[in-house]
């Protein structure tokens, strides 16, 4: 059943994702970190579904759908940003700063 190790791995993956979001500046890497966090959550849902029932599996499909849509939109935005700035370093993309 491996519930404990599964949740531990999920937490580890999520933390790596958050750390990447905070520390890295490359838009593609940030995008990957988001995917990492989403999948960490998926893992937690799958693991917990063994205990709490089939609802967890259902949510996972929704999350995967959203992640797919997000990947499509997100990559398109990154492509547009790159065309405009010749860079995807987010440190330089700060037009909305105060």
């Amino acid at each position: 059943m491996l519930l404990g190790p599964a949740l531990g791995l999920s937490a580890l993956l999520f933390s790596i994702g958050v750390a990447g979001m905070v520390l890295r500046r490359n838009a593609i890497v940030l995008f990957m970190c988001v995917e990492l966090m989403l999948n960490a959550v998926n893992l937690a849902f799958v693991a917990l579904a063994q205990v709490y029932g089939v609802g967890g599996y259902l949510i996972v499909f929704f999350v995967m759908t959203v992640a797919a849509a997000e990947a499509a939109v997100g990559l398109a935005i990154i492509l547009a940003v790159f065309r405009h700035h010749q860079s995807i370093d987010l440190q330089n993309i700060n037009l909305l700063h105060g």
Binding site: M21, V22, L23, R25, L90, I93, N94, L96, G98
Partner: protein, 674 residues
């Protein structure tokens, strides 16, 4: 207007006797002048040249009101009511325990005032037709004048203090409008403002008196207040209430210390000076004291102060009148002085004496002002014809006018003899009664003997300055230029007619309260008895009789004759130079001419500090510094600073946002789980 017989909801009397048909129509006396206001006001806005209609409507509505006043008087005489008739027109303020109706009170006192106000107003309206005929603001003038009469009648007829206050404020407004009638001259507009502001100070006193009365008595209508006051009102409360009422009266009736506006009020047209600033409005204070006589009787201290203010004002203003050159200024100070007499009368508790003098003064002072108006009218036209810029009101430019204005001269002499207290003219009886009342009060408190002395001295000075006025204007060698002399002529009959009627009244006005020694039976005293008896019962006044009375009478006549003789001789005994070549006064004459520098003193003590406070403190420190600087400016700086701080967070760096989001998420989690 919604005034109609249908709204006369109820006529309730304290005891017996229903209001007759005329008393029920008392609202007409107010509604008719208001109708005149509407018609003349509309005409002044649309067709300023519609002279015929205005000449008809302006005096016409007043004659109608006078007819109603006569009907009311006759009805009251036929069936004298024991208690005042109160005609409630409509409920006005009903809040909690406060019950104020728009109600009119018809009793002996208000009917006398009604007759005087509508009668004298009618005459002055007719006079104005001639006097103001050439003025471009003719319709506007009559609209204001009608409005004044309407407010004056509200003041006189009001059955409670708030209704009286409507009239009180309304006549003040009309006074302001008419003083500044020729507002293109800044001095006139300033004079109107001065009158309005001086009256405001008094009005505060009136308001405070009303608040105190409501607090202590829980009622503001005369019937309740005056009947309950003797048992319920403490002496201290009565003193405070009457002192504040007195402050209001000193403002409206131009007594020390608030008299300063009245001389300046002469900037208005002369008929206005006669009507508002001599015959009617300025006597409102005397009327109020007589109306609330019971309260004043409960507060002998206020009575003493009232009498003292009156006596002092009578003497003080009379001395200033000795040295004025402007014919209207002399009459203005004379008015202040005579109002002082009335205050002396009502202050000592001689309410009838005060009202009596009010009535006779209305006759002879209106006559004096209108006579002066005739002189000014004649000189003004003469100067106009010769394009001279001399002052048509300066008596130094007159002299010997008897040759050209014989009728005006004769009529003004009648008024002069009346005001100087020469029997059998009206002023003799009323002035004598006031002095006798002051003398009688002296038996209780010797200080009233002093007031009597001051009053007698003022009577002497009155005779002196009036003889001086007549001598400078009508007698001696003329100082009118040769060119102007051909243009001098008597005014039209619309102006001389009212003068003749007023002269008849000045001559015979004493009849209304002819004392026993002259074969009368004090008709006014008896007529007013139902109104004044409550007050006189609290503070009885025994007028001197027998030898004392005869000595007082002899002294009064001697004072009057001597004053006239001295005034006439000294004025004509020295050469008078025309205004443009006259040297400035020296010594005490200069102090009198400059009115004891009271205006300058008030300016230095009140006006300048107030302007300084407003400019340097209220404007520059409070408004610019505190409000604009600290509050408005501080708010701007504060929100800008907060905005800067907030915008720092908006760095545009995704990492920072995520970090903050994380911190927030953890914090929320902690709050939920912990």
């Amino acid at each position: 207007m919604t005034l109609s017989p249908l709204v006369v909801q109820a006529v309730h009397e304290a005891s017996g006797g229903a209001a007759g048909p005329a008393a029920r129509l008392a609202w007409l006396t107010i509604a008719l002048p208001l109708l005149g206001v509407v018609i003349n006001g509309l005409l002044s806005l649309t067709r300023a040249r519609a002279k015929a209609v205005v000449s008809l409507v302006g005096p016409g509505v007043l004659l109608g009101a006078f007819a109603v006043a006569v009907a009311i008087f006759l009805e009251l005489r036929a069936a004298p009511p024991e208690a005042p008739l109160v005609v409630t027109l409509w409920p006005w303020i009903h809040v909690g325990d406060l019950r104020i109706d728009l109600a009119l009170q018809i009793d002996q006192l208000s009917s006398v005032m009604l007759l005087v106000v509508t009668g004298v107003s009618s005459l002055i309206h007719i006079y104005s037709v001639g006097y103001m005929g050439d003025d471009p603001g003719y319709a506007r003038y009559f609209a204001y004048l009608n409005l004044f009469v309407a407010f004056m009648l509200i003041l006189v007829l009001g059955a409670n203090l708030p209704v009286l206050f409507i009239g009180w404020e309304g006549v003040g407004l009309c006074s302001y409008l008419l003083i500044g009638f020729w507002f293109t001259d800044k001095a006139n507009a300033d004079a109107g403002l001065k009158a309005f502001l001086a009256n405001r100070i008094g009005d505060i006193g009136f308001l405070i008196a009303m608040f105190l009365l409501w607090q202590t008595m829980g009622a503001l209508d005369f019937a309740t207040v005056l009947s309950r006051a003797p048992g319920t009102l403490s002496a201290a409360a009565a003193t405070w209430i009457t002192l504040f009422l007195l402050l209001g009266c000193t403002g409206k009736s131009a007594q020390i210390p608030l008299y300063v506006w009245l001389p300046d009020a002469m900037a208005g047209p002369t008929p206005v000076s006669a009507l508002i600033h001599a015959a009617t409005m300025v006597t409102a204070g005397v009327y109020l004291v007589a109306r609330t006589g019971v309260l004043f009787a409960l507060a002998p201290t206020t009575g003493l102060i009232t009498a003292g203010i009156g006596a002092l004002t009578a003497l003080f203003a009379a001395t200033i009148g000795l040295r004025q050159h402007d014919i209207k200024k002399v009459l203005a100070y004379s008015t202040i002085s005579q109002l002082g007499y009335m205050f002396l009368g009502v202050g000592v508790g001689g309410y009838t004496a005060g009202i009596f003098h009010l009535v006779t003064h209305a006759f002879f002072k209106a006559l004096l002002f209108l006579g002066a108006g005739s002189v000014i009218h004649a000189l003004h036209h003469a100067y106009h014809a010769t394009h001279s810029h001399d002052d048509a009101q300066d008596m130094r430019n007159m002299g010997g006018l008897r040759r050209w204005l014989p009728l005006t001269c004769t009529l003004m002499w009648i008024a002069t003899l009346a005001i100087a207290g020469i029997p059998p003219f009206a002023g003799f009886f009323s002035k004598d009664e006031i002095l006798a009342a002051a003398f009688a009060r002296g038996a209780e408190q010797p200080v009233y003997y002093l007031f009597y002395g001051i009053g007698a001295a003022a009577a002497f000075l009155t005779a002196v300055y009036m003889a001086r006025l007549m001598a400078m204007t009508f007698h001696g060698a003329t100082r009118v230029g040769e060119a102007e002399q051909g243009h001098l002529h008597e005014p039209p009959v619309s102006m001389t007619g009212p003068l003749v009627l007023l002269a008849l009244l000045s001559l015979t006005g004493g009849v209304i309260n002819l004392p026993a020694f002259a074969g009368g039976h004090e008709a006014l005293e008896q007529w007013l008895e139902p109104v004044t008896h409550a007050a006189t019962a609290l503070r009885p006044l025994a007028l001197p009789t027998g030898t004392t009375e005869e000595i007082l009478l002899g002294a009064a006549i001697a004072i009057g004759v001597l004053g006239l003789w001295i005034g006439y001789r000294t004025t004509l005994g020295q050469p008078i130079l025309p205004a443009r070549s006259a040297p400035p006064e020296t010594g005490f004459a200069r102090v009198l001419y400059r009115k004891y520098y009271i205006d300058e003193i008030y300016d230095a003590v009140f006006v300048r500090p107030l302007v300084w406070l407003s400019d340097k403190v209220l404007w520059r420190v409070v408004d610019q510094g505190l409000v604009d600087g600290v509050l408005v400016g501080g708010g701007v700086v504060g929100s800008r600073w907060l905005g800067r701080l907030g915008s720092r967070l908006q760095s545009g760096q995704v990492g920072l946002y995520v970090l903050l989001f994380l911190v927030g998420a953890i914090w929320v989690l902690r709050a939920i789980l912990g």
